[in-house]
Symmetry: C2
């Protein structure tokens, strides 16, 4: 029996992600092969493809768990909160669940910003998050337009708060920035119409 | 001189788009080649590539003009309006400028929904629209967080209003739906915190 196939690899996804990020930083996403990423993480190429569908996915693997977590918190919050406040609670819980690795997040952001295929994947991942929130709200009886708008607002806040967190010079945490950014959007939307 | 190269082709982009949409509907995006799209539109393959960088772009070619238009209206509106109301004015003007082809929009939407590469391109195009709005606001002195949030809210409203327009059984126009959807978001965000 081939031990490289059956052997359990501790934290294979994390090791592949770190190796991939380093190689992408050094040479650019387009110049790096999956075989090189696997070799750099001391893993077999087939191990990579057991964990990720393609080369891009190595930078987005936390997404499915994040969405599952968001949906759970959202469903639980809807009994006691308005749709928009339930979305805020879910986005805050999602922020809390993300690994507290700001430096890693900064490096990842720079690699994504340098490659259009990665930007496309990221944009689609965020759209999937929006759809998941909207679907959960509709399943719980929220009007479809309200559900979609609450999901768009929530993911918009998530994106802006994430960038604030990455850019912050101090050690501010992500979760309080989500709440503050949500409050900023509320204030902005409440501004009286002028002109 | 080769007349097929130099000849002016009336509405080449629109003809290529219509031909591509039909072929994608019949056989799926992945099964259709650029050569086939061009042939179906009675144009040369190189004509396709004079107009579009790749096969996906044929479904997104109005985007650059839409963004230029949005930016212009936005910059003009900021003298008399709050950032969020200027964004609404820009999104409404964008809706007005889009061709009034709801049936075509429905077909295009179905083709995009069936292919992940097209979904990625669409998600990135919407993210580009968000960036363009945000950049314009920041250039005009709006606080960067307010600018990003106003842009997220505006593009979120655009997306939801677009889907309402496509789904509407009656002949409702896109522009009034933008204004109404913006009002819906305001109401939703203003709901008192509960729980």
């Amino acid at each position: 029996m081939d031990r490289t196939v059956s052997r359990w690899e501790p934290n294979a996804r994390g090791r592949l992600e770190e190796a991939a990020l380093e190689l992408f930083e050094e040479r650019g996403f387009g110049e790096v092969t999956v075989a090189e990423i696997a070799a750099s993480a001391s893993l077999a190429e087939r191990t990579f493809f057991r964990h990720f569908a393609d080369k891009r996915e190595v930078l987005f693997w936390g997404q499915a768990e994040l969405i599952a977590h968001l949906r759970q918190v959202l469903a639980d919050s809807l009994d006691k909160k308005s749709p928009i406040d339930a979305v805020l609670a879910a986005i805050e819980a999602g922020a809390e669940a993300l690994p507290d690795r700001r430096e890693f997040a900064r490096r990842r952001r720079a690699v994504i910003a340098a490659n259009i295929e990665l930007q496309e994947r990221e944009a689609l991942k965020l759209a999937s998050m929006t759809s998941a929130i909207s679907t959960t709200l509709v399943e719980r009886g929220v009007d479809v337009t309200d559900a979609r708008l609450a999901a768009e607002a929530g993911v918009g806040v998530f994106k802006v708060a994430y960038d604030r967190w990455i850019a912050a010079a101090d050690g501010r945490e992500f979760r309080p920035l989500v709440r503050r950014t949500f409050a900023d959007l509320r204030t902005l939307m409440a501004a009286p119409a002028s002109g």
